[in-house]
Structure formats: C-alpha cells, structure tokens
C-alpha cells in the first residue's frame, strides 16, 4: 500500500531530523532513493527549488515526493507522516512545560540555553550571509571570498534600513511587516538583477 509506505517512511524521517532540515538528507538518500521514488538528480534539483520557496525543507521534500509518487493523497500522507512525530513530541512536552519551568533546575538549565539559542541564530545568519553574498555553501571556501555579490550587499543594506524605519500607520508607528518586506525584496531583486545589471 503506497500511501501507508509514504506515511511510514516520512514518519521515520520526521522522527530523526533533529536540529535542522539538512541533517535529514542522508536519511532521504537511504529511504527515498532506495525506494526508487526519486533519482539523485531530481533530489538535487529539488533542494535548489526548496531553498527558494517558503516552508521547512523536511515538509517540502515530503510534499514533493508524495506528490510525485502518489498524487494529491500521496502528498497528504507523506506530509502528515513527516509532521506527526514532532507534533506528538511537542504536544506532550507542552503539556508539562509550564510545570517543568517552575522547577529551579530547569530554570537554571534554560539560563544556559537562551544564550545558546541566540548564538545558533547568529551562526545561521553568518552561514546564510556567506551563501548570499559570496555564493558558496562552505565557510572555508576561501577563493569565493574574493568575489562578493556587490548588488546583494546593496539590497541587503537598503532593506535593513527600511526594516528599521517606523512608519505611521492607523495612528501608531509600526515597522514594515515581514511579509511586505519579502514582497518588496522580490520586486527589488527583479529590478536590480533583471533591469539594472
């Protein structure tokens, strides 16, 4: 039964993706390609597309493989499968989280974890900046640092300033909505790379 197999395969993939979607690529290789659901080239193409569409990589790849092999219901089953483990685990954690965080030991542990989270996001920012500005996915690709994408740096600087400005709106001063910023950046990208360059 294809639908059940899709669900179960992606349930396993969802269960073992800890700390970011790309950690699951080896597992996808083993499960999806071994099953003959996708070729290696199709997977690489899809990773490129997934980077430019919204949504977590894990969910995107599940929807895509499901749709390719089993149509709409295949996509539904695979996506449900990949979401189910974290849904169950976090639901259970959330039920006890408030009581847990009242405990001194847990409070102490989180006082060490909060700076760690800030550092993790900083790290994500560094790797993404290198990716966008220098067009390389490896931080130690020294040759790539010689050719920065100046247009990208310019767009980034302008958008950053725009994101800090407070605009009067309905009597309140608000910063630009993130979704609006994304739409604006799409337009700016087309203008800069398509028309100017």
């Amino acid at each position: 039964m294809l639908y059940l197999r899709l669900f179960w395969t992606f349930f396993k993939i969802g269960l073992f993706t800890i700390g970011g979607g790309y950690a699951m690529i080896p597992l996808i290789n083993a499960e999806v390609i071994a099953n003959g659901w996708l070729t290696q080239e199709a997977l690489l193409d899809f990773i490129a597309v997934s980077e430019s569409t919204p949504g977590a990589f894990a969910i995107n790849i599940a929807t895509f493989v499901g749709a390719e092999t089993g149509g709409f219901f295949g996509a539904v089953c695979a996506t449900l499968g990949v979401v189910a483990p974290s849904l169950i685990i976090i639901f259970i954690i959330a039920k006890f989280f408030n009581k847990l965080t009242e405990k001194q030991l847990v409070k102490d542990a989180f006082s060490g974890l909060r700076p760690a989270v800030a550092a993790l996001i900083t790290y994500a920012f560094i790797t993404l900046t290198v990716q966008v500005v220098f067009n390389t996915s490896s931080l130690s690709d020294w040759a790539a640092y010689k050719n920065p994408d100046r247009a990208a740096i310019g767009i980034f600087a302008v958008l950053f300033v725009i994101s800090l400005i407070k605009i009067p709106f309905k009597g309140k001063k608000v910063k630009i909505h993130p979704i609006l910023l994304i739409l604006l950046s799409a337009g700016v990208g087309m203008l800069v790379y398509g028309v100017i360059l």
Binding site: E51, I90, A94, F97, F110, G112, A116, P178, V192
Partner: protein, 208 residues
C-alpha cells in the same frame, strides 16, 4: 486597546465557551498560516513574525518563553517552525489548538510545493523568478539579522551568558559536533553556574 495596559488573555477551554474556542482556533490557524508563508530559507525567518504577531500583538508568549521553546525545538525532532506552532497551539487551546497551528504552518508550503511539483523544470528555468528570489534571499538575511538583534537584547548581560554565546558560536564554526550535544553542554553549564552562584551567596551570608 491600549498597548501598555493590555494583559495576555487566559487560554480558552472548549467546555467553557464553545464559540470563543472555535474563534480562537481560527485565529491560531491564521496566525501560523502567515508564519508558514514567510518561512523562507530555514525556520529562523519566522522568528521575526513570531516576535511581532505572537509575542507583541497577541501576547500568547513572552520573549523569554519564546527563547526557551526555541531551545526545546532545536533539540527535538522536526523543523523549529512546526515545533513552535505545536507548542503555542497546545498552550492556547489544547490538542485542537496544536492541530490548528501546525496545519496552519504546514499549509502554505504544502500548497506551493504541490502546485510546483507539476512544473518543477519550467520553474527552475524562469530567469525572472530567480531574480526575485535573489532579492528575497537578501530580505531573509535582514529578517534574521533583526531576530539576532532582538535575541541579544533579551539575553542576560552576564559574563556567563557571553561565554555561552562564544562557546556555541565556536562549536558551530570550528567543529562538526551534533548541535544537540552542544545544547546539552550549555544546559549543564547553566545548572552548574547557577548552583555555584547560589552556593557562593549562601556561604557569604553564612560568614556574616
């Protein structure tokens, strides 16, 4: 309503007020649907929207709570956007809240990828689309940078916190250690540090 005086509303239960409960489910669904739309390039982009909608506007979470959840989300299976959605949903409206938030967060990418799966090759060869995405990648950087700034404002300004930040950054940049282990080390360090601080305070008080 006045921004300053508003307090976070209590979670709603189905048996108390069914109409309000379903309204809350819909609000939760919609909030995370928006967050699902914005999750470009990894889950961190959504922090900007969680901060804006879930923390500041709806006050379903405090910033400190959000950072706690992010720590949990990093060390449990699943994408952090899904984990945060499930957590907020459970906290606000139990199991159905968790389902509403999680499906809200999944739906945008489900629809987009399902539609794209029919013409993946054509999509890749559209040069204008690739230009637009080059721009979007810059916006993603801006949103994550803003999240970084916000996070550091909320980190306690102690020597311990600064050392923890530097430790994690070095671990990520210079080693391949599994991120969960780094987080476990930080949790243990937090426990030992706070215990030592309390012990030193106690010992000083004892002397006097």
């Amino acid at each position: 309503m006045n921004e300053e005086t508003r307090t976070p509303s209590a979670p709603i239960k189905l048996r108390d007020n069914a109409k309000l409960y379903f309204k809350e489910l819909f609000t939760l669904f919609l909030a995370f649907f928006k967050i699902g739309i914005i999750c470009f390039g990894g889950g961190y982009t959504m922090i900007s929207l969680i901060e804006r909608d879930v923390v500041e506007k709806k006050q379903w979470l405090t910033t400190e709570e959000m950072m706690n959840i992010l720590a949990v989300a990093e060390s449990t299976p699943g994408p952090i956007s899904m984990n945060t959605a499930t957590y907020v949903g459970t906290k606000r409206a139990g199991l159905f809240g968790a389902l509403a938030c999680t499906f809200g967060a999944v739906l945008p990418s489900f629809i987009i990828i399902f539609v794209l799966s029919f013409f993946l090759e054509e999509f890749q060869s559209l040069t204008w689309v690739s230009y637009a995405f080059k721009g979007i990648r810059c916006a993603v950087l801006v949103l994550i940078l803003n999240a970084v700034i916000k996070m550091f404002r909320n980190v306690e300004k102690t020597v311990f916190a600064i050392l923890a930040v530097l430790f994690v950054l070095c671990m990520c940049l210079f080693t391949d250690l599994y991120i969960v282990y780094t987080l476990l080390i930080c949790a243990a360090a937090g426990i030992i540090y706070n215990f030592t601080v309390r012990f030193v305070k106690y010992a000083r008080g004892y002397k006097e």
